[in-house]
């Protein structure tokens, strides 16, 4: 079985708010947050292919925003750039983190 997709997040116990990426203080009450891990599954909310990229990136670069099942949104790279022609808003994706960057993995049948 595939391992669960765990994402590092912050949680404010007072406001019941979660944050990805982590932040030391709550954006509402300024209180200290605690570290939690959340499930990184959700739906592709929006995406774009950059044909003009900043230094250090090679076009075409595909990025998107995943809306996690809990409602949080995460911006990440869609590594499989060959899929860019067939991406659809709402399709299931899984978020992973590697060296401070997020990647959105398409959850398509093999």
């Amino acid at each position: 079985m595939e391992p669960a997709s765990r994402l590092e997040a912050s949680f404010c116990g007072k406001c019941r708010k979660q944050f990805v990426p982590v932040r030391a203080h709550c954006s509402s009450c300024r209180g200290r947050t605690e570290r939690i891990y959340i499930e990184g599954r959700g739906k592709l909310r929006t995406f774009t292919t950059l044909f003009v990229t900043p230094d250090g990136f090679t076009p075409p670069l595909v990025i998107g925003i995943c809306e996690l099942d809990g409602g949080l949104r995460v911006l990440g790279e869609i590594g499989d750039y060959r899929a860019r022609e067939s991406l659809t808003v709402g399709e299931p994706v899984r978020v992973t983190e590697k060296e401070g960057k997020y990647y959105l993995l398409l959850e398509r049948p093999a």
Binding site: S27, T46, T48, L50, G64, L75, G76
Partner: protein, 377 residues
């Protein structure tokens, strides 16, 4: 609170220029002071987003005040990314309203074309959240994510973005201050290079040089500052309550209309921050001209044309007047002044105008400012 008025305005032509930033700012300042009929002011508020990066200058407010021969008047710089020009107006408004100052020169400029497009794009992207930049996020990339989300949520067709590009180029073709004084057709827009889909080259405002200045005063003139409001939002797009509207604009506009004591229906003409064509739609909805999701329909219906019931961006907007990033917010206000005075030449809205509105977006929605001007005599 003391009433605040606009006494004089001035700006340079926008677009690539061989001249230095201080010379562009000098021209805008002396034009505004001449238009105002003053040779002195009580203070100078300077706006520039990033002269440190674009042209390697800092301490710009003291430098410019010296260059203008206005030492020892107080001066300071205010910066809120791409809404900087509106932010200096905001700051000076409250300084004047307090009663401590009588005449303030607000002066904004940016010189962006000395660097390559890549280098300039990098500087502009530095206003975004570090995490989103680390992912390759640029200003057009995040605007594209917003655009696709808006288009999908509200079934907005590509045609609406094209319409705005064509309209704003047509308006700018009648504006001697505009960067692009030529018309484009739909085919040219829709076959232009894809920058970050669905945004094409003609959906994006250009890199421009230029400066703009206004003399603001507490003495009565025909143009009164009726309302002003400023709101902020989280820097990261993903942290915001909405990514298809700017909450910062909604906060700002509520304050501005409250101060003015009027409703959006009273606005006769507007300048909306169309750094990307879809932002004109979002902006029109956020300031309350149209219901969320309906903006594109009204725009495609021709309602925001110069000849329509609610002209939007008669100047050509950021899209075609150009976008010297720190100066655009002030240039929007100057266009409204010209429209209210009946001095906008070939692009003049041809009917009686009383209220005009500007909406300026800083840093992709992190610091948005709305201003309402009224013709009082």
């Amino acid at each position: 609170m003391t009433d605040v008025y606009i006494r004089g305005v001035g700006m340079t032509k926008f677009g690539p220029s061989e001249r230095r930033l201080e010379d562009l700012m000098y021209e805008a300042a002396v034009t505004a002071m001449s238009d105002a009929g003053v040779d002195d002011v009580d203070g100078v508020v300077v706006g520039a987003m990033s002269p440190e990066s674009f042209t390697g200058e800092s301490n710009i407010s003291a430098f410019i005040t010296d260059y203008l021969g206005l030492v020892p008047k107080p001066t300071m710089r205010i910066e809120t990314a791409s809404s900087t020009g509106a932010a200096i107006f905001d700051g000076a408004f409250f300084a004047l309203a307090s009663g401590f100052f009588k005449n303030i020169l607000v002066l904004a400029g940016e010189k962006m074309t000395t660097l390559s497009t890549g280098a300039a794009t990098r500087i502009l992207s530095e206003v975004l959240s570090p995490q989103e930049r680390r992912q390759g996020g640029t200003m057009p990339a995040l605007a594209a994510l917003i655009t696709r989300d808006y288009m999908h949520t509200y079934a907005c067709p590509r045609e609406a973005l094209t319409y705005i590009a064509v309209k704003n180029h047509r308006n700018a073709s009648k504006n001697p201050y505009a960067h692009f004084q030529f018309e484009v057709d739909a085919q040219r827009v829709e076959t232009s290079k894809v920058i970050a889909d669905p945004l094409r080259l003609y959906d994006c405002s250009p890199l421009s040089d230029g400066a703009a200045a206004i003399v603001m005063t507490t003495e009565k003139t025909p143009i009164r500052v009726a309302g002003i409001g400023h709101g902020t939002d989280f820097v990261a797009l993903t942290q915001r309550e909405s990514q298809i509207h700017f909450t910062s604009t909604r906060v700002a506009v509520k304050k501005a209309f409250k101060l003015a004591g009027i409703k959006p229906a009273k606005i006769d003409v507007a300048e909306i921050h169309d750094a990307f064509t879809p932002f004109e739609i979002l902006g029109c909805e956020d300031v309350g001209f149209f219901e969320p999701g309906d903006g594109w329909k009204h725009i495609l219906n021709g309602e925001t044309e110069i000849t329509g019931p609610l002209p939007v961006n008669p100047s050509g907007g950021l899209k075609a007047r150009g976008h010297p990033v720190g100066a655009s917010g002030l240039a929007q206000i100057i266009e409204i002044v010209w429209q209210l005075r009946g001095a906008a030449g070939l692009r003049q809205v041809d009917r009686k105008l009383r209220y005009g509105l500007t909406q300026s977006v800083g840093g992709l929605g992190t610091s948005n400012i709305v201003t309402i001007l009224e013709k009082v005599a």
